[in-house]
Amino acid sequence: METKFHAITNGEAIDRNDIPHLPFTEFRDEALALVAEGGKVVQLFGTAAVDGALPDGALPDGLLPTIAVMRLEDQLWVAATDLPETYASLTQEAEVFHLFERELAEQFGVTPEDHPWLRMVRYHPNYADRPDVFGNDYAVDIPGNYSYYAVAGEEIHEVAVGPVHAGVIEPGHFRFNCIGERVLNLEISLGFQHRGIEPMLPGATAGRRQLLVGTIAGDTSAAHSLCHAHAIEALALADLSVSTPDQMVRTAALELERLANHTGDLGALSGDVAFLPPANYCGRMRGDLLNMTLWFCGNRFSRGLVVPGGVGMDLEPVDSETVLGRLTELKPQLEHVIDLIFTTSTVRARFDGCGRVSHEDAQHLGLVGPAARASGMDYDARRVFPTEHYTQIDVPKCQPFTGDVYARARVRADEIIASVALLQDLLPKIKSTKSTAVQDHALAPSSLVVTLNEAWRGEVSHCVLTDAQGKIERYKIKDPSFHNWNGLAMSLRDTGISDFPLNNKSFNLSYCGHDL
């Protein structure tokens, strides 16, 4: 299609001068045109230096330099603009911009006019030392000036849950507007897990950065580390090309992460409909899968396994043989438990038709990952923007689904089966690898790189901008949960409030990945 955006490739650095700089109205029109064609937002962020200490006048003339990265089919597009202090919001035309514009407002104090739901995202002062868009005094506790969506009427009641929940779970606040047992609207307000990772990254040493990207979301450590590694590999002046065995190990790390989490989620879903045997079996098998990652790198969450330039460990053929042996032993157990879950009528009675998100809503919200595939969007970054060994692998397309809890569970189950097959094929090919040390690298000056990978929850993306000296000026992170929290809210519409836990588990989104 014709667009003024510039075509880029996943994981390839470009000169910042090659990013088309469009006047705001043109930028807005072009971005909306891409969305009209079915395009989605990968990143939309202010590019003023964010390192915790912005120089005065960081936003000359009150303009905020901003970059948008969009995807349309199998092509990535980028363009830049200067956002005025107040501008006509894009969200009013296309919902996919919703949370991105809220984030821009929070991080840099720009106001999207006529944004339908302009609220804080993570509750912190903006980085530009500008007047606060929300009129907050951040000495006051979260949520500050947050007016929740309200429904009025005689039979209406409100249920507020969190931030501290009843289980061993991350904190977040959920507001349900109900009529009787039926949920009319669920509002999710987060930010409790906000650690300020983005401002820490530009000034961090390579060692610290490795730790930080591995802890954006602990259960998605391999995927975030891989996005970081791809960014540094693309920007480094030295040759950091990754050997084939290293690529295979990195691919295996990502698949093991997917397997462990999907398996755990299936168990949790089963537990939530009070079918306990699979809950226990899956809990145990998830542990076995995490222990395979432990075998590779000494950490159950693959810390330090994926590093810029390769992998962090010396691996011998016996390592992949060991993991393959364990996986082969586990495979029939996984298959049988999955079969047990989906053929048990009491499970199906609760899963079927519960918390449906229509294909249309999923498109509008721009959902990603298994949650999107469950609503019939078949985007998978492994297939559309393949990296590592995925270029050699046929990632199966998922079948069209109905958008309910059943579909979200079934997608996980299918992906478990596919991942096991993929690993059984891949692991025997991995012979030995030599470890690569994490070290500071000189980076190309004045460059931009965008990286994407398909984590178990969906598309993870990192964007790194360097300044004229090759220092990291802005490090932007996007976890798939950033796209999907509104999907969960949508699934609860007109659903019984007692089905919230089930729907919540069927999405199992990351609070820390969202909150950064």
């Binding site: 300020g196 809990g283 432990l294 049988h336």
Partner: protein
């Protein structure tokens, strides 16, 4: 029905017999470190190189100590010193009752030893445990978990304690839904500004006597996020901590060992 039974047979009995029989960790697991005294193999400049490479400022080159409360067990110091100076053993018994006990000189740790012979490295937890806690909570311990801005891996590795392999409740220990029912609070994460009040309120809602447990580098020192204005420098800046369980994340067995030694 038949499927349920067949799955049951296939799954078998998976509960570990730990602590009765020791568990061996895979060789790449990084547990209690040993640190070599100064010598030709481990000269002072190697110690300096380790300290410089440590992303967490956990390694002190002069004193030759590692602060396990800050350490994220990334293994960089071990790699830099080619295991000559720092070596991580497979012992997962890392927890202590005092913050200063976490600063270890790594002398006496033996590879894989999960018994008293290992006590040289870190003070023996059972002997430093508060005896009145053992009396109060030794037979039944109810835990309330607060997740306060970590990466959720520490929570995950606490959660697995309830899976069949660890089966925490066989020891009379359980996670409960309400602070009102809790004897001890288990905090993970560096306690962000946005979780500070919720953490304190949860603690206040618990009836006394109550114990406070910090799990993971984050809760002990801020972990990887230390230095960010959005997080605290550890739970101790807010509450009196009784038990420190280090790791990034703390391995489930580290958690289990700590709970059993400290309260049982």
């Amino acid at each position: 029905m038949l499927k349920t039974l067949m799955n049951r047979f296939e799954q078998g009995n998976r509960t570990s017999s730990y602590p009765k029989t020791p568990i061996e960790m895979p060789s790449r697991y990084r547990g209690v470190p040993t640190i070599a005294p100064e010598g030709p193999d481990a000269p002072a400049d190697l110690a300096k190189a380790c300290a410089e490479a440590c992303p967490q400022a956990a390694f002190d080159a002069d004193k030759r100590t590692i602060d396990l409360g800050r350490c994220c067990f990334c293994g960089t110091c071990e790699r830099v010193s080619k295991s000559k100076l720092v070596h991580f053993t497979q012992s997962f018994e890392l927890s202590t009752a005092k913050r200063e006990h976490l600063i270890t000189d790594g002398i006496g740790a033996k590879n894989g030893a999960n018994d008293d012979a290992n006590a040289g490295a870190l003070p023996d937890l059972a002997n430093h445990a508060k005896q009145h806690f053992k009396k109060l909570f030794g037979r039944s311990l109810q835990l309330r978990q607060i997740s306060a801005a970590g990466c959720n891996a520490c929570e995950a590795d606490l959660n697995v304690l309830t899976t069949p392999f660890f089966d925490l409740s066989r020891f009379g220990i359980d996670f409960v839904a309400s602070p009102r029912h809790a004897d001890a609070v288990v905090v993970t994460g560096p306690i962000s500004r946005n979780m500070r009040t919720a953490t304190l309120t949860t603690y206040e809602a618990m009836p006394a006597p109550k114990a406070v447990i910090a799990v993971g580098a984050c809760a002990i020192s801020g972990g990887p996020f230390t230095g960010s204005p959005e997080v605290s420098e550890g739970l101790e800046s807010l509450l009196p901590v009784d038990l420190f369980i280090p790791g990034c994340p703390a391995h489930p067995l580290t958690n289990l060992h700590a709970l059993l030694s400290f309260f049982k």
